[in-house]
């Protein structure tokens, strides 16, 4: 029992070291920082000013409607970086170094994911700032404070899913291509950018049961009031389900690399 506790303590310490390494990596690669900050900001501006006038957003200003959704979209797009980063580490042979060390196996993947959580917190805050500057306002009062936490939590679950693609892919490019092929439809086929009711009838159920819709609607109702729990428990169930499936799957897969 004692050795197990000791092992867990070391796993936490190893994960902290790997998180630090990956945060440094972000700070030192301008292209990654630009990808993860300028791109989402650009999305907000393009959607608000280009599509905003043409989208019926059910009683809310489009910027108010869009921002909670685009926060979710940003963390999901960001989660592809988890997979790509892991694939890159695997390809560069650094993984052989890690594997020859007496460190916790989980730490390489977990450190990568926690650094992405840190980045997501930063990016979400930045985007709320940009939103506020172009007219976004919280309509729902105090629950708005829970918004960043919910968005980051959901992104955390998706990072594990993408980590699985990263440790399974044969190359960085393959991981990238696969992630986007998955993330794009799953993000767009949801209530992220438009109300589900405006989609064709046959498509509505798909969007309705999409986990992204659960997350976006949770975020939206936290920001502006309305039915929170109905969406929140669905989002939490998805989050838990994804973690239960993908954490063991990814770690097992990584061991075999």
């Amino acid at each position: 029992m004692n050795t197990m506790l000791n092992e867990m303590r070391w796993a936490v310490s190893d994960t902290a070291v790997m998180t630090w390494r990956n945060v440094l990596r972000y700070r030192r690669s301008p292209d990654l920082l630009i990808f993860s900050t300028i791109q989402p900001v650009m999305f907000v501006l393009l959607f608000v000013y280009v599509f905003g006038g043409a989208i019926r957003s059910g009683g809310l200003n489009y910027v108010d409607f869009l921002l909670p959704g685009i926060l979710v979209q940003t963390t999901l797009f960001g989660s592809t970086q988890t997979g790509v980063g892991l694939a890159e580490d695997l390809q560069k042979g650094m993984i052989d170094r890690y594997k020859s060390l007496p460190m916790a196996r989980l730490a390489v993947v977990a450190g990568r994911i926690f650094s992405d959580v840190i980045r997501n917190v930063f990016v979400v805050m930045l985007m709320i700032g940009v939103g506020l500057a172009i007219g976004f306002r919280f309509q729902g009062g105090i629950t708005g404070f829970a918004l960043p936490g919910v968005v980051v939590l959901f992104g955390f679950a998706f990072s594990w899913m993408m980590a699985m693609s990263g440790v399974s892919a044969k190359s960085v490019e393959a991981s990238q291509a696969f992630s986007f092929m998955f993330i794009f439809p799953v993000t767009f086929l949801s209530s992220t950018f438009v109300p589900v009711e405006t989609m064709p009838g046959w498509l509505q159920p798909v969007a309705e049961y999409n986990p992204v819709t659960a997350a976006v609607n949770t975020a939206r109702s936290l920001a502006h009031g309305g039915e929170v729990w109905g969406w929140m428990w669905r989002m939490l169930a998805w989050t838990l389900g994804i973690l239960v499936v993908f954490v063991p799957l990814t770690v097992t897969r990584y061991r075999k690399v």
Binding site: W20, G93, M94, M103
Partner: protein, 303 residues
Amino acid sequence: MSLEVEKGTVLGLLGPNGAGKTTLVRILTTLLMPDAGRATVMGYDVVKQAAELRSVIGLAGQSAAVDDYLTGRENLEMVGRLYRMGRRESRKRAAELLEQFSLTEAGDRRTSTYSGGMRRRLDLSLSLVAKPPTLFLDEPTTGLDPRSRIDLWNVIRGLVDDGATVLLTTQYMEEADRLADNIVVIDLGGIIAQGTAAELKATAGNENLTIQLVHRSQFSEAVEALERSGCGRPQGEPETGRITVMVSDGSAALGRVVREFDTASIQFSDLSLKEPTLDDVFLALTGRTAEIAEAESQVDAQV
């Protein structure tokens, strides 16, 4: 297959690409699970006691595994922390190793700015962070320029003098010759010869006598003179005026050849007696040269 490396010595594992050197090293360092059979290193089972084994070995691989986003010092400190050394201890050890490998000056630069030789030195130093008693060096100088190669050889020699036990794989005969106390030649997954460099060379037999003629027109006279002097069968090309002959009695043969050439007034610009190289050994053992074997294995890999 059993490999024995005496403490404080270097065992050179020699063989062409595709012979199974890297696979063997990857299994012995727990990077790869053996498909069948079992392996132990220093008494530790590579599968069942992988964790214990990892803390007593160091590995420097073929492709220098250093983190490009970090500085040399950060690389060393990170690995120290992952060996579960304290923060302060990791920092101290990093400084020591930078000093030992002449990287102090470059220590705070990102490793993406390092030269090939510097990366290999850092890679090697990373494998030494926890002062492991046993080191696995998998083709440590592949792809380096001659100057960096010699630098690295000196570093490795120094480590061994300080008591490290090393398993070195290489395709360079010269490298094994310089560094290894004992050599095992493997090919097609099995051991085909072992011994010291001198012992292996002795199995290849005789010394080579090489003569460079001044006048190519004297080629056939020279061949006749060599046959008269009781050497082996001369081999050479009339176009280059260069002849090689195997001799069993070294310097005595040298004297006879010089006298025969004098009598026949054949002029030569160079006459040299050479010990067989490990390349000759490899050729004698496998019937192929290391380069040809390598080319073959590359063709196989493409098919």
